[in-house]
Amino acid sequence: MSQQVEQVSKWIYGGLWGVMTGWFRVPAQPPALPSSASESIESFKPAIGFLKYMKFQFWVWLFLIDLTILIVELIIFANEPGVGLALLVPAVFVAIAPDIVVYLAMHLRYDTTWYVLSDRSLRIRRGIWIIHETTITFENIQNVTVRQGPLQRWFGIADVSIETAGGGGQQQQGQGNPWQSSHCGLIEGVADANRIRDLIMSRLGESQSAGLGDEDEASRSKSWSTEQVATLREIRDLIAAT
């Protein structure tokens, strides 16, 4: 029985996914990053724990909201049985319909979230109706924050937020929200947050610039070339000889 339910739900979700990719033009492939052949490209999705984390929150909220609806309905029914009976159908609808939508949206959100890391940049795709793709080069990153709540720790996931220079009025300290500030890339719900952080921080360490639009060339030609040094030596010797 449960297998059949699983089969049917899989089938329904597959159909929905087909509608999304076909009619609503949701890209099914992970985003690509332009890169040279020698570069390593890593594209991944949030960990499966992220889906479980979202579902756990979903069930908690479902229980609380539906319990409230049930209690209100019972109170009305006890006082005015006629009104309570009339409200029964809308109450059941309100209790069930949004849940299905939210449940499907959670799965779609999980399936449409992609993170791509290359040797010099990262790209994040997120969104169902409005698809948002963010590209940031490691050169421009200012700081990397890893956040993990108690629930997230239980599910073994964490959020990595990557911030670039620039302000955002609405943003509060330590609460990077990608919807409010766009100077931020959020890698949400990954199991190996520390590895990603270390990876990005090591790339950051290799960069010599301040990450604020200084030219690459400035750091590249900091020292004198061997030819220039040789000429300088010659000049010194010439002056010493006179």
């Binding site: 040279s36 040797d119 590209t135 050169e139």
Partner: protein, 178 residues
């Protein structure tokens, strides 16, 4: 990761040829203003004027866009100062093949500094901008502009050689009479 079709698209895509938004942007603006219902004319008019006057200019070092009839506005930025690029497509834009390419610099505003709309090859444009960004170019790709770089960095060397030759001349001319 780069496939043959991607390479082909990159070859045929020329950002400097983009000057005007595509006509489908006008249709998109029309659809968006239809959402306001009875206020359609009021909502559409600013969109219409923006579309009519919108101009893009991509050159080697930066991009500028300008629009407006009564209140003119022109934004210029250099590729090297780009902090991050956002490509956003809502469902209507996806249907019409449009996208918004938002470019951010390190300025204080939370919103993007420039939103490029109405470019059909938005993915190619985004990747073009990405390749001009700081830190996006690899060592292998950097060799192409290294040749020009070494020419300009040759200048101090040339100057040094000149000084050396002058010193040589001086010392030899001083050496002769003594």
């Amino acid at each position: 990761m780069t496939t043959a079709t991607e390479d082909h698209a990159r070859m045929t895509f020329d950002a400097t040829s983009i000057q005007r938004p595509d006509t489908s942007l006008a249709r998109y603006y029309g659809l968006v203003s239809l959402l306001s219902g009875p206020f359609f004319p009021i909502a559409f008019l600013p969109f219409y004027f923006k579309y009519i006057t919108l101009r893009y200019k991509f050159d080697e070092s930066g991009v500028s866009m300008s629009w407006g009839i009564l209140f003119r506005r022109e934004i210029q930025l250099t590729y090297r100062r780009i902090q991050d690029i956002h490509l956003t497509r809502n469902i209507v834009q996806r249907w019409m093949g449009l996208a918004t390419v938002a470019i951010q610099t390190a300025s204080g505003s939370a919103g993007p500094e420039m939103s490029i709309e109405g470019v059909l090859q938005a993915n190619e444009l985004r990747d073009y901008l990405y390749r001009q960004m700081r830190g996006a170019r690899g060592e292998t790709e950097a060799t192409s502009d290294d040749s020009t770089q070494s020419e300009s960095s040759d200048e101090p060397l040339a100057l040094l050689r000149e000084i050396r030759d002058l010193l040589k001349d001086n010392s030899s001319s001083e050496g002769r009479p003594s």
